[in-house]
Subunit: 429 residues, 2 copies
Amino acid sequence: PYHRMTHDFFLPEKLREELQRKAEASLQIIPNSQLPQLDNYHSLVALDTTHRKNANIFGYPSWVYKATSSKTGNLYCLRRLEGFRLTNEHAIRSVKEWRKIDNANLVTIHDAFTARAFGDSSLIFVQDYHPLAKTLADVHLTPNSSHGTRFLPKGPISEGVLWAYISQIANAVKAIHAINLAARCIDVSKIILTDKNRIRLNACSVLDVVQFDLRRPIQELQQEDFMQFGRTMLCLATSTLPVHLTNLNASVEQMGRAYSAELRDTIVWLLTPQQAPTQKTIDEFVRCIAGHIVTTLDESQHRADELNTELFRELENGRIARLMLKLGAINERQEFEGDRSWSENGERYMLKLFRDYVFHQVDSNGNPVLDIGHMMRCLSRLDAGTDERICLTSRDEQTSFLISYKELKKQLGNAFGELQKGSKQGRGF
Amino acid sequence: PYHRMTHDFFLPEKLREELQRKAEASLQIIPNSQLPQLDNYHSLVALDTTHRKNANIFGYPSWVYKATSSKTGNLYCLRRLEGFRLTNEHAIRSVKEWRKIDNANLVTIHDAFTARAFGDSSLIFVQDYHPLAKTLADVHLTPNSSHGTRFLPKGPISEGVLWAYISQIANAVKAIHAINLAARCIDVSKIILTDKNRIRLNACSVLDVVQFDLRRPIQELQQEDFMQFGRTMLCLATSTLPVHLTNLNASVEQMGRAYSAELRDTIVWLLTPQQAPTQKTIDEFVRCIAGHIVTTLDESQHRADELNTELFRELENGRIARLMLKLGAINERQEFEGDRSWSENGERYMLKLFRDYVFHQVDSNGNPVLDIGHMMRCLSRLDAGTDERICLTSRDEQTSFLISYKELKKQLGNAFGELQKGSKQGRGF
Ligand SMILES: Nc1ncnc2c1ncn2[C@@H]1O[C@H](COP(=O)(O)OP(=O)(O)OP(=O)(O)O)[C@@H](O)[C@H]1O
Ligand SMILES: Nc1ncnc2c1ncn2[C@@H]1O[C@H](COP(=O)(O)OP(=O)(O)OP(=O)(O)O)[C@@H](O)[C@H]1O
Ligand SMILES: [Mg+2]
Ligand SMILES: [Mg+2]
């Protein structure tokens, strides 16, 4: 029969480590943080690691924090605009529209409010928190200082990845334009990577509030979205930060040497303004790149399959964890220690011998056998209650019992049920 | 602080149950099966539950089995064509081309061979096994006999689901046509549903072998794919089985009353042959439905997010299962029972008291406290080795020890390390 290896029982190490690091990032707190507590959010942790005070994008310096909601205990990402004074109450209400969008390539926006807790007048946006998210600028454009390659830009991005980004941004823009909004902020520093090749627009809605008084027509802003979309792709295709993207024609020519004509033409289409009154539409764009969207759809489904497979595998651990919790609660209980009828007899005795059988195997020399496969298989079978029979031997080796997993499972249920009777809790097992 | 509820520790019940049922289906074996053992596959289980002998699709009755590969222990789905005699060795080689495709909406094909083990001459196709897969015919078109609604057809399919199916079939057809093959078998009984709204073409390549000698031109077959695609969608949109789909115009008119003009026009496009020499292409089709593909992409990414969230949650169970396996291996080992220095002293003694602390809590009346939250939190902290200190009390209540999880974690490492020294195994923990 096919015996699974240890690595089959648990997640592949790389995925496990990534999830582990994400879990740690989520749990991280700063013991004596100088950051204030807000009305509904506490335990703020700064996520801007550069400490760069940059007002380029919003006209105000912005700071990003992880925070815990006092109401639900859930984590959020707060973006604070330093020194912003709200003059028009309507401005902040525009965020309500944004809340309606639930798009897989857009960081969900939950709320916006003003706060004085930072010692200034701040505007705060509440968004989904994505542990270990990095901006596309950080991932692709910021010189890598860690491996002595300090002044080397990162390697070029493959054409496939660029198309995946284009498909995803198109998906976000489509959802945004569909409810008569504009993204207004498509920039390599305001798009985050949250999983392999998976991106999300990260700072939509901010400019709707901050530049509310300009009341620019939505059509104009939507047309500008295409331009920003094009510039962003050009930055990525030429490894150029937005501030250095000064000569568009030269950049287009440069990228044309490294990538296909189709990609170049797509970017040129995005960059080229339409002659009024004609307007570009996202539907038109989506039709042009339809073939690449199909590829991205295929990749996304493959990713879901992978995750499903892993989850399938982990499921067993959950069941086995529950089972071991039960066994742990039954075996060797002190209060029944004197009471041989509880622990050295009948059901509980079998479960004790089973515990020895699972965990305390020794080889012919009396050395411990630590076989994770044996342990997991025994527990799996107990969980399933199979008909297979095993031989349990008393510690003095005087008595042996032939018993099926099915019977053991029943005994476990009885013994645990009896514990539960005396207890007020015990649900959820 | 925010304390998670029991349901936070484990998968949501519905997803858990579905995965559980899939796991059971995968594990299922038939004790005294009459089915033969093949050269490389054993433990066959019939998946055709209808026992209907139907030669309509392939010209031969076909039977579907789950089987275990003798080489790898992995599960596969075998499709057997009863009574097929291979006359041309080249025929079976066409399957090699199919192996090159790795598409998320196509059941992967691994191999094909002839077999005499069933007492006839059979042709066997080896494909991916998808536990609990159902055909679209079963899901949507077969009258539901279970709830007394025996003769009622199932309810109409929502337009959104139909577009999701169209996008996915288009993805599969695009991959197939791209390497100069044709699907040849797009039928409601040969498309399987493997997850929520997720479908896969299930019987491609079979006709390439069976009708090899006809040598029909690939262009002709590809054009026919569009027609079959259209008929399949029409069956689904009108709740009609293929055998009853006799009047296409009437059916188109019927579906036009329930669905949008865009959907109707899309199906009509698929059904309408082009005037030679013009050929329909899948790229053209994909452009027409681009907007819906974007929606499907969005849904697929949302699904991946959901699975990611669940996996994130389950991760902890895996760690805790490992930890309990270690504790189980250390506590109450018989061979060290006399040796107080092993089990009643120092490290192991602390770990024993810790076990009592985790599993054997009692309330003020001496009744067991079975708090899964307490158990999981204690084990989580032990796993993380936090600085938090707990008070462990000896069973005679004469001695108390104040000890941090960090120290306990070190002691667990030492105690387990010592066990491992004497053991040849113990890796993978
Ligand atoms: N929604 C989010 N969830 C989790 N982390 C985020 C989120 N948004 C941003 N971050 C983290 O915060 C960091 C700072 O974000 P920010 O948008 O300020 O980028 P920046 O590189 O500092 O750009 P700027 O110079 O414009 O401030 C990002 O690098 C990312 O790691
Ligand atoms: N790749 C697969 N993985 C798992 N189960 C499958 C797979 N393919 C088919 N099945 C199962 O086998 C059953 C029979 O498949 P089959 O293609 O024979 O459909 P059918 O309804 O019996 O059609 P027909 O009448 O043409 O034989 C399906 O209902 C499905 O449950
Ligand atoms: Mg910043
Ligand atoms: Mg069948």
